[in-house]
Symmetry: C2
Subunit: 436 residues, 2 copies
């Protein structure tokens, strides 16, 4: 073999980045791998827009099928995004014996199963490091470096848009809407930010991580998801007074026969290394029985950081091809026959600490009434802060609870919200406080 | 093949941890790898001391040669430590066709060359993830995940003992001696802490990292090394006033045909994620042209974190054996023919920012004399703080410089030290301030 031929399907932001990196660092990659990675094709239906790359003649083509049907292509990078076309082309590429690399978390989380089976059946590598955490090597670390560890928990800041927005609210005291506008202006947020700010992008990534960490079938549907649209500067300020930061976290805990997996805004203490992860940066803490807590930190998105992960996967596959190794690391970290169906615990059954903020009419006995309701449900209060009275006659009350059962907390809040003295629905933010 | 046989040479702290992990997580490892990792032998000249492990009959043996000479052994973990016996046994094991895993940074940094050549000649894996940063996957990340990146710089807190001591001085204002005593008492520091506190352990690790990152021959001798024995609570306090933390850093920068590689205490701004790495934890930031800055964080030492890295390497090799892949990833990240000799720039020729503290007699004109000396050597001062007068009549003067050439700074300090008004040698601490 003289060189390894690579084709890129989809020349949007990430596709352009991968093409650039393969071309600019071609000599470096060759000196490391020991063989040339030749970018034979880049396919995109839009060949008119200038990507700032000068391709050799015949490289930039309009039809991805040319790549799939070329018998000389070894590795295909699917960087089209979306599910339908990307999914079909990925399956076709595997059918034609190509190894496939992708950054497409939505595709993997929602219909990974069929792709994994096809790759296994064909004995091909299907690699997706870029789908979670951009340039952070989360997938390689879980599947390979920590292979000897039982993983107990992971907590991640996996969406740069949300982290940028929360950092901005936290530093400037602005509203969610202002921070989102700024994120869109700076290109950190999509024109339609729904998938990001509502937590679904983080949930896609968490679905992938728990599959790898626990050797379980992909299960996106049962992950509890809440976004950050309801986070106010006031709650961020109060959180600070208790020594907490608010982050959108993807959280999983391993209970053996069942696991927790949830995405929601959470308060974390300042000793938690995740609390210092600011702006659009991502990070993931992994807690293993032998390693203890490790953390990976890096740019979770963007053209070149994502390209770095895609090219890392391409280099990995090239080394596999050169040494005749196929499916060296199983797609989900364990051979398919060992992949289990592990149920995700409904969020109502989890226990954690809670921050509760409510506006209460400034009448005698209201606080005692509220603590009575909480106490009746076995929810024990760690601290209560009553703030100065507002012009409308209510006083904000902020409570931090000890560990409590979510179901009981939700019921207690419903009961509290129904009191005449409570004009607004109370705000609830979960606290992740254990040593990480 | 029904199982993969592993032998451990050396049953000290790390050897015991690896044996425990292979035994306790044997089922988990088998379910991930798809084949049993069988711990066939653990060899140590001391078979009397209780390690808290119940071995099957015939597993715990006094002579490592039994492992090397057993044709059924696939993978040998060298966990003896030191250089002579460990080096000889490693070469013998490779000669006998065994893949070798080690945590022995001193051996690799000082005489890795002969081992690498032997492994390459035999087509065997020689793995050493545990030698740098404990459970943090630094070697895998550099050689594999970031294979597409030109690495521009790395900065690491790579010695937990030093970081524990500096954190303690910083939090409690105690002296170096007190902090060291506490570290020894808690088991974070060796009875003979020389290799740690003088920076040599970090230098061993840096030598390995630069070889991998730049594809260069191991070069320990030319790394400039300073330890932390001269760091005072006063300098840590003054650093804080400028928004800096003091850490023992292993630093490298890539200048293309030459590289910087040095270990010394350095001031870093609080925005640098390394500044939040406290206690005995380690971390490494890696700056790549595509990935930007990534950071790995974790326990850099200790029985089980180190065992986690060793077992990760064993799992990797097991997967290579199962898929018939040999030397999939070259030892230094590039095939031997592409490994270059790249010179390390003498420290006198680097440029960085400097913190200078001196005690000056409280006479008119002294400060002007000092700034004159600095100015004559092209050293520009960013800020000067003059502190309150001491009882002996001197005043502490603290200066922060802009980027300056080390050679000129050293000469200026010699000149300043020779002034009558300067009774003590000035203190110099380098500042690493660029965006990381």
């Amino acid at each position: 073999m003289k060189e390894i031929n690579v084709g890129i399907m989809g020349c949007g932001v990430v596709g352009t980045g991968v093409a650039k990196l393969l071309m600019e660092n071609a000599d470096l990659l060759e000196s490391r791998i020991g063989l040339r990675l030749n970018l034979k094709y880049v396919a995109d239906i839009d060949t008119a827009t200038d990507r700032g790359i000068i391709f050799d003649k015949g490289v930039f083509i309009p039809d991805a099928n040319t790549i799939i049907d070329d018998p000389d292509i070894h590795i295909v990078a699917e960087l089209i995004g979306g599910k339908t076309a990307a999914g079909e082309l990925t399956l076709r590429a595997l059918d034609k014996g190509k190894h496939v690399v992708t950054a497409n978390k939505a595709l993997i989380a929602s219909s990974g199963g069929a792709i994994f089976r096809k790759a296994a059946e064909k004995g091909l590598d299907f690699a997706f490091e870029a789908s979670v955490g951009g340039c952070m090597p989360v997938i390689k670390t879980i599947r390979e470096s920590l292979a000897g560890n039982r993983i107990y928990a992971m907590k991640g800041i996996l969406n740069g848009t949300c982290n940028y927005i929360l950092t901005k609210i936290s530093k400037e005291g602005c509203t969610f809407e202002t921070a989102l506008g700024e994120a869109q202006h700076k290109g950190y947020a999509e024109a339609d930010p729904f998938l990001d700010v509502e937590g679904h992008d983080s949930a896609h990534k968490l679905a992938i991580l728990i599959s790898l960490a626990y050797g379980m079938e992909m299960n996106l549907e049962d992950i509890h998801v809440e976004g950050i649209t309801g986070i106010t500067p006031m709650d961020i300020r109060y959180a600070g007074e208790f020594g907490f930061k608010i982050k959108l976290l993807a959280i999983t805990k391993n209970h053996g026969d069942r696991v927790e997996a949830r995405v929601h805004p959470a308060m974390i203490p300042e000793q938690n290394p995740l609390s210092h992860v600011n702006g659009s940066m991502n990070a993931l803490t992994i807690n293993g029985d032998a390693a203890g807590t490790t953390m990976l930190y890096g740019a979770g998105a963007g053209m070149m950081p994502t390209a770095s992960a895609v090219v890392g996967d391409i280099a990995d596959i090239a080394r596999n091809i050169m040494t005749g190794s196929r499916m060296r690391v199983p797609i989900l970290g364990s051979p398919e026959k060992n992949i289990k169906k592990i149920p995700i615990i409904p969020v109502t059954e989890i226990s954690t600490g809670y921050y509760i903020r409510l506006e209460a009419a400034d009448h005698p006995g209201v606080l005692s009434r509220i603590s009575g309701i909480l106490g009746d449900r076995g929810i024990s209060i760690k601290s209560v802060h009553q703030k100065g009275r507002r012009s409308n006659g209510t006083v904000p009350v902020v409570m931090i609870t000890h560990m409590a059962l979510e179901k009981e907390v939700q019921r207690a809040l419903d009961e509290i919200a129904s009191l005449d003295a409570i004009p607004e629905k109370p705000v609830l933010i979960r606290i992740e406080e254990e040593e990480q």
